[in-house]
């Protein structure tokens, strides 16, 4: 099980690989669409990569609820628990 900080760092790496955004810009309070300008296609790629990296399932219907980076980190932490 990874800590919140570890999940955030891992997610930031995935976002960086997909979009080129600096890992430092991927903060808990950032909105994927509003702040990070991530479109739905990139979001699905990030979700699938995150499933592999953190060994969790993120159902498609759940993805729309992951509005901020923090939402995703918390969901992954809960799913790992």
């Amino acid at each position: 099980m990874a800590s919140t900080e570890e999940i955030l760092a891992g997610l930031a790496e995935i976002v960086n690989a997909e979009t080129g955004l600096d890992v430092a810009d991927v903060q808990m309070d950032k909105s994927f669409t509003e702040d990070l300008d991530i479109d739905s296609i990139s979001m699905m790629t990030i979700v699938v990569e995150a499933e592999d990296k953190f060994e969790v399932k993120i159902p498609d219907e759940e993805v729309k609820n992951l509005k901020t980076v923090g939402d995703a980190v918390n969901f992954i932490a809960a799913a790992q628990a």
């Binding site: 997909e18 080129g20 699905m44 790629t45 699938v48």
Partner: protein, 414 residues
């Protein structure tokens, strides 16, 4: 009313003998081979009968950013690299985006993406198939990416006619400008099919050279020992512009795109008409379109793929279109150097034909050791051929494709 005159003001290319136009031109004059033994593990894994190809000399991933490249099939990566070079070369700073169009061809499209996605589906299941799969594999991907990159809003077209595609894109661009639908069109062709499946498929139809022990000598158009083509990859791009638009901005004009034409053999799905009738009609139509007499023609960049059955009908067609004047015409078979770029070949060869007119110098054909006596063309070998230094000169570029597609462009000095 006279048709609008169309001129060529920008050139771009990424090929097996040069990752940009200056390098391509330097090597085309020198005479080098871009073919080499493939080092990919899949060559042995699938026991491919052909173990070499002509890869792009500069990988597109070295030029594009990682994130850009990730969202593009290799064919689209090549297209964007070549189109950016052509656009920069044109010097256009401002343009009405509603009068800027794209005609970017491919023969096969996103074959790497398609087959990678199929592998992923079988090995990992549907959820692991990338969401970008469809836009990456679609054959209009290169045209769409170039349109997006340049903000070209007057339309993005994708002529698909196998190995005639790149030259057909020139024809489409010409028509768009003549019809007043665009003032500037970025035309080109892209291909990235050096993948085990297309190699196996082209091999099984006996189209590829199997000179595995001599990759650099394998592509030998017009040679008596030619035994098939060599697969190449890359892209070529040209900026076509209405003459008045180019003159108004004081553009450097390489040449005039004087005439274009497209015909179909309606003879056989893969074999060329042995009489070359469709090709002859295409040659004559392009010359008619550009008000060109046989005596005006000084150079031909031939389709000349190095297959036993393909090279001769092209000679027959040239003879029918140009008559005895053909004896005076310098012919270059540049696939001897860079292999066959399939849907990109016509675009890259149009770049070379434009430069041949601009510099009045025809590039060399390599590997022509024993010219087939049935193809008595005046082929440029050894040294580049000097074209007439004075007066108006014309060069033709031929491309033919499976399906019986024939496309010809005529390029004139300005």
């Amino acid at each position: 009313m006279m048709a609008r005159k169309v001129v060529i003001t920008g050139l771009g290319a990424t090929t097996p003998i040069g990752g940009d136009v200056p390098t391509l031109w330097e090597n085309a004059l020198k005479g080098v081979s871009g073919a080499a033994t493939l080092t990919d593990s899949w060559v042995e894994e699938y026991h491919l009968p052909v173990t070499f190809a002509a890869r792009a000399s500069v990988p597109a991933t070295d030029v594009l950013s990682r994130v850009e490249a990730k969202r593009m099939d290799p064919s689209t990566q090549f297209a964007v690299v070549a189109a950016r070079e052509a656009w920069k070369d044109s010097g256009i700073e401002e343009v009405d985006r509603n009068k800027l169009a794209v005609a970017f061809a491919t023969g096969i499209g996103g074959v790497w993406t398609l087959l990678d996605a199929w592998d992923t589906l079988r090995e990992k299941g549907p959820r692991r198939v990338l969401p970008m799969t469809v836009p990456m594999l679609m054959p209009n991907g290169p045209a769409a990416a170039v349109s997006l990159d340049l903000g070209a809003a007057a339309g993005a077209h994708t002529p698909v006619s196998a190995c005639a595609s790149g030259t057909e894109a020139m024809h489409v661009g010409m028509e768009l400008i003549r019809a007043g639908k665009a003032d500037v069109v970025v035309v080109g062709g892209a291909e990235a099919a050096i993948h085990p499946m297309p190699i196996a498929a082209f091999s099984s139809m006996q189209a590829l050279s199997r000179s595995n022990d001599n990759p650099q000598g394998a592509s030998r158009p017009y040679d008596i020992d030619r035994n098939g083509f060599v697969m190449g990859e890359g892209a070529g791009a040209l900026v076509l512009e209405a003459e008045e638009h180019a003159l108004a901005r004081g553009a450097r004009i390489y040449a005039e795109l004087a005439g274009t034409s497209v015909t179909a053999d309606a003879y056989h799905i893969t074999a060329p008409d042995p009489q070359g009738l469709g090709a002859t009609r295409a040659l004559k139509a392009a010359m008619f379109d550009g008000l060109i007499q046989p005596e005006d023609v000084v150079h031909v960049n031939a389709h000349a793929t190095s297959t036993p059955v393909g090279d001769k009908p092209e000679y027959t067609a040239l003879k029918a279109a140009l008559g005895d004047h053909l004896d005076n015409v310098w012919v270059s078979a540049t696939k001897s150097q860079m292999g066959h770029l399939l849907g990109a070949s016509g675009a890259v060869e149009s770049v070379l034909t434009t430069l041949a007119i601009y510099h009045r110098l025809a590039p060399v054909t390599i590997n022509l050791d024993n010219q087939d006596p049935e193809i008595p063309l005046k082929v440029v070998t050894g040294e580049p051929a000097k074209l007439p230094a004075e007066g108006s000169i014309v060069a033709l570029n031929n491309s033919f494709g499976f399906g019986g597609h024939n496309a010809v462009v005529a390029i004139r000095s300005v």
